[in-house]
């Protein structure tokens, strides 16, 4: 019995010391990432059976456990993966947004200013400095577009390099998890949980989830097998697979995540990534950069095409038609831009201001003897004039015949209406012999021949006022191309022409198309912001819930410290009493 109280006291002291140790451990690790609060599990030492029943034999330390919750950990990991993916994409989107600036720094404004510069050319066609301004503004636009293209390239290259560093961190983490697995498995047999090792492994998996979302399955030996969201095995027991980033075989600027088996890299489908920074990067690369680039290239190439086309319809200051045809039937002329269809590589082609086709090859004038009030508003070319000295080479008009007249007549079927037909300078009807074109006020007069191929239409003539029967409008080759502004006006009309399509279906003006582009990108960034904010809130909430289970509260630990200290003191008191009992016994025995 005497020894009972000694061993009881000693056990109590040991147990309390263990609890003090664990509390100190908790206090020490209050700031250790991934640390789970530990606690000592106590249980009573089995009773000693005597004739008087069971005597308690004191306390014993069963084991040390950590406070964790597998489900909360898993939920937190999923949230971290989503939040990390969204945040990575948002960071990149914020950079992407700077590629398409707004306002006066924008590409749309620059394009608009290229067209606006034609106002001065139209005002003073013979003034070379006005033409130089057009070229300078075009160059400015090209530079801005090139810069935007290069920024996209740099963003793309940066994304691939981020993917590479992410993948090498993933490889390092999976390797560490495999090592932790081995250590944990080797301790499996001893019957106690290796708490700190488990914490470390959980922390590694949490970090891994920040990079790529994984699922874990615990094996019998305590090791965790790690799978990527799509089911791809990353860690099996103590061996880890290696990921790599390879170039997309179809587009070498794109990076693809691949699994290295042996010496070959097998490219994984993008949908195998379900979360984590890697997913954010791949999504940014495949969706955001790709759509921005497609939009930018469409905008650039269609604007350049429209201007080049307009240029080809005109005549430059030296009188050279910008699209005549060489012997092989190929168009010759100097387009404004060397349109490669790509924002990065488009460049200026025209350098001589006099090469700007400001003049229209044809001019219309009202005959002096006209009795009606018709006056010319504009004459625009529907296609390039194919020959240098004739109105139209596709008809039987001799090449020396250089004028064409629109002749108005009273309609034979309805005397209240006017018809018009074309006659050449010798009075011979052109295209159609009988008047069959009814003049409708407000509709341009054109030479589209319903009986002939539609492409034969050469011009559109808009008039204001009302002609009378017998009135004539003469169309002739421009005699003084240096001082004619017909094509410059047609360039200006491009400001209102819906000529750019971002989706291939609906066309918009340059300004509207660019507004649409920055609007789309702005919406994407806004969406990214919202997604990141939601998922980060979720991640924070689950982190908080988890930390309320696993985290260390210093006040609690302080209270426990006092509690365990007092228990320890009590146990010591037990020993003291045991000693005094023993002393009493000894003195008694001494007599």
């Amino acid at each position: 019995m005497g020894t009972g109280i000694f061993s009881l006291g000693a056990r109590a002291m040991l147990a309390n010391q263990a609890m003090l140790d664990t509390t100190s451990h908790n206090i020490s690790n209050v700031n250790t990432p991934g640390y789970s609060r530990q606690q000592v599990e106590l249980q009573t030492e089995g009773g000693l059976f005597t004739g008087a029943g069971f005597y308690g034999r004191g306390v014993k330390v069963a084991t040390v456990t950590r406070s964790t919750n597998e489900f909360l950990v898993r939920e937190n990991n999923v949230n971290i993966a989503t939040s990390s993916s969204d945040q990575t994409r948002l960071d990149k989107l914020n950079q992407l947004e700077k590629v398409l600036p707004t306002g006066q720094n924008g590409l749309g404004y620059a394009a608009q200013q290229v067209l606006n510069a034609f106002v001065d050319v139209a005002n003073q066609p013979q003034d070379m400095s006005a033409r130089q301004v057009v070229l300078a503004r075009s160059q400015d636009w090209v530079s801005r577009v090139n810069t935007a293209g290069k920024q996209l390239d740099e963003l793309q290259a940066g994304t691939v390099s981020d993917m590479q560093s992410t993948v090498s961190r993933i490889n390092s983490l999976t390797q560490q998890i495999a090592t932790a697995n081995q250590a944990i498995a080797s301790l499996k047999g001893i019957g106690h949980e290796p708490n700190d090792l488990l914490d470390q492994r959980d922390q590694l998996i949490k970090q891994l989830n920040g990079l790529v979302q994984v699922n874990t399955v615990e094996a019998d030996d305590g090791s965790l097998n790690v799978f990527m969201g799509g089911g791809q095995l990353l860690v099996l027991s103590n061996s880890a697979q290696t990921l790599s980033v390879v170039r997309d075989p179809l587009d070498s600027t794109l990076g693809r995540v691949a699994l290295r088996t042996g010496n070959t890299d097998r490219i994984m489908e993008s949908d195998q990534l379900t979360g984590g920074a890697l997913k954010g990067l791949v999504q940014f690369q495949d969706k955001d950069i790709a759509s921005t680039r497609a939009g930018l290239n469409a905008f650039v190439s269609q604007f350049a095409t429209a201007l080049n086309q307009q240029q080809s319809l005109g005549v430059d200051a030296t009188g050279a038609l910008q699209t005549s045809f060489d012997a092989a039937g190929n168009p010759v002329g100097t387009p404004l831009f060397l349109n490669t269809g790509s924002a990065t590589s488009i460049s200026m082609n025209l350098v001589q201001p006099k090469g700007l086709a400001a003049a229209s090859p044809l001019v219309a004038s009202v005959q002096a003897s006209n009795t009606g009030t018709a006056s010319i508003d504009s004459l625009t070319m529907a296609r390039a004039l194919p020959q240098t000295n004739a109105i139209d080479a596709t008809t039987s008009l001799p090449t020396t015949n250089t004028t064409l007249s629109v002749l108005f007549e009273t309609s034979a079927t309805d005397p209240t209406k006017l018809t018009y037909r074309f006659v050449d300078s010798t009075g011979t009807p052109y295209k159609d012999v009988t008047p069959k074109r009814t003049w409708t006020p407000g509709t341009p007069i054109n030479d589209a021949d319903p009986a002939s191929i539609p492409a034969s239409q050469l011009f559109n003539l808009s008039i204001s006022g009302v002609p009378r029967a017998g009135d004539k409008i003469t169309i002739a080759r421009t005699t003084y191309p240096a001082s004619n502004n017909g094509n410059a006006q047609a360039f200006l009309a491009l400001r209102d022409k819906a000529m750019v399509t971002l989706d291939g279906a609906t066309y918009a003006t340059v300004t509207d198309a660019y507004s649409q582009m920055i609007g789309n990108l702005g919406v994407a960034v806004q969406g990214g912001k919202t997604a990141a904010s939601i998922s980060s809130t979720l991640a924070k909430t689950s982190e908080q819930t988890l930390s309320s289970t696993t985290g260390v509260n210093l006040d609690e630990e302080a209270a426990r410290l006092i509690q365990f200290q007092q228990s320890y003191q009590a146990a010591a008191k037990v020993l003291q009493i045991a000693q005094s009992l023993f002393d009493t016994l000894l003195q008694t025995a001494r007599g």
Binding site: L93, E97, T102, G103, G108, Y109, Q112, N116, V119, D120, A122, N123, Q124, Q126, D127, A359, V363, A364, S365, A368, S369, T371, D377, S378, S464, A469, G470, A476, T479, Y480, A482, S483, N484, N485, Q489, L492, T511, S515, Q516, I518, G519, L521, G522, V523, V525, Q526, K529, K540, E543, Q544, S547, S548, G551, V552, N553, L554, D555, E556, A558, L561
Partner: protein
């Protein structure tokens, strides 16, 4: 719920950072004065601002068109003003030249004066627009558009007008051909001229001269000729026999000519009616037997310079007959009046377009202002709201800092002593 100490610190630090970020964003908006700094701040507003900016740039471009046109129109207006003055002087000179008592020498001096006026008119017609072009250049001309050649002054530019780019019609040039070389001949409806003597087939032998005539019955007028048919002409033929002068009026549109009236007694200066055609002319002086005067349709091809040339030539003749002088002066006056009318019409059109430009300018300004307002509405900051926001956030940040400072002092360890 238990609070994990480390997490509690992390959370408060994060919240403090968030507050600081909000405050700095608010400050950036205040300093830049813009609510929308990048498109994602408000994509719709950014797109709206983009369109408004384009509209402002467009207004500036339209303003440049307008200024260019206004400049040319002002030059044209003053050129046409000069023209009117010169033509008035020419007219006065011509009136003076009609004085029957003038000697050949005196008339020649007036002819020299007229020649000077004509040369001045030519230089006005070739007036430059100050930028390498010509105000009367029509649709283009590399050299001065009016060239003085062997056959008189011709227009070498391309007819028509060059327009500025604008939603409203703004001229950059005036059709010089129309103004200077395409006035309406005669009295505007028909022309009169001395014809050929029916007997001698030479010029009229008498001293009679014809006026420009008047329209008496508009409904009977054969002019303007309907399209497709040829324009009829008429003549008055004199018969002098035994001291009595009579005249016949003939319609030359048929072959042989139809007689409209015959044997009418002639009184110098009395009105002669072109029977059934609603026109009348008056002929003064003494016609010779067989003298004829013709009446034809007026056309738009009265050339100011040719007309002056013709008059100058007539006045420069030595020993000119008084009827020749009278005819030249009379025709010259009619033509100058017609040309003046044409120039005045062009001048009033130019003046009207200058007038119109003030309206256009104010419309452009209004549009630009509207676009600027739209842009400002879309992306500018409401200062009152922003300042109040900033102060709110500042207060919030201060409160967060203070609470952090006071909470972090609270720990049980503070109270455990030894």
């Amino acid at each position: 719920m238990r609070i994990a100490t480390a997490h509690a610190y992390d959370t408060s630090i994060q919240n403090l950072q968030k507050r600081q970020q909000d405050l700095s964003e608010s400050q950036m908006q205040l300093t830049s004065g813009k609510r929308v700094n990048v498109a994602s701040d408000d994509p719709t507003a950014a797109a709206r601002a983009e369109r408004a900016l384009a509209s402002m740039a467009r207004s500036d471009a339209n303003k440049r068109s307008l200024d260019a046109s206004r400049n040319v129109m002002a030059i044209t207006e003053s050129a046409l003003g000069d023209t009117v003055e010169l033509m008035q002087t020419a007219r006065e000179t011509l009136v003076a030249a009609g004085n029957g008592t003038y000697s050949d020498g005196e008339r020649k001096a007036l002819a020299v004066k007229l020649r000077e006026i004509r040369n001045q008119l030519l230089s006005v017609a070739n007036r430059s627009d100050g930028g390498g072009g010509f105000v009367f250049g029509g649709q283009g001309s590399a050299t001065p558009p009016f060239v003085d050649g062997n056959t008189g002054v011709t227009f070498v530019g391309q007819g028509g007008e060059t327009l500025a780019s604008s939603s409203e019609k703004l001229n950059l040039t005036v059709d010089g051909d129309q103004v200077w070389l395409k006035a309406r001949g005669g009295n505007g409806v028909f022309t009169t001229a001395p014809g050929i003597n029916a007997n001698t087939s030479g010029p009229n032998g008498g001293s009679a001269w014809i006026t420009s005539g008047t329209v008496t019955t508009p409904s009977q007028l054969p002019y303007p000729t309907p399209s497709g048919s040829s324009s009829p002409s008429y003549s008055v033929r004199f018969n002098v026999s035994g001291g009595t002068t009579t005249y016949d009026v003939l319609d030359n549109s048929t072959a042989p000519a139809t007689t409209l009236s015959s044997g009418q007694p002639y009184n110098s200066g009395k009105t002669i009616a072109i029977t059934g055609k609603g026109m009348s002319v008056s002929i003064a002086g003494a016609p010779a037997d067989g003298d004829q005067f013709t009446i034809g349709e007026a056309t738009n091809n009265l050339n100011m310079f040719s007309s002056l040339d013709k008059t100058i030539a007539a006045l420069s003749q030595t020993n000119a007959s008084s009827s020749g002088i009278q005819q030249a002066v009379n025709t010259g006056m009619t033509e100058i009046d017609s040309i003046l009318g044409n120039v005045q019409a062009a001048r009033s059109a130019v003046g009207e377009s200058l007038n119109r430009m003030d309206g256009i300018e104010s419309r452009i300004e209004t549009l630009k202002l509207a676009a600027a307002t739209e842009r400002s509405n879309a992306e500018d900051l409401d200062m009152t709201e922003a300042i109040s926001n900033f102060q709110n956030r500042q207060t919030g940040y201060q409160a967060a800092l203070q609470s952090y400072a006071s909470v972090q002092k609270l720990s049980l360890f503070q109270y455990i002593n030894g």
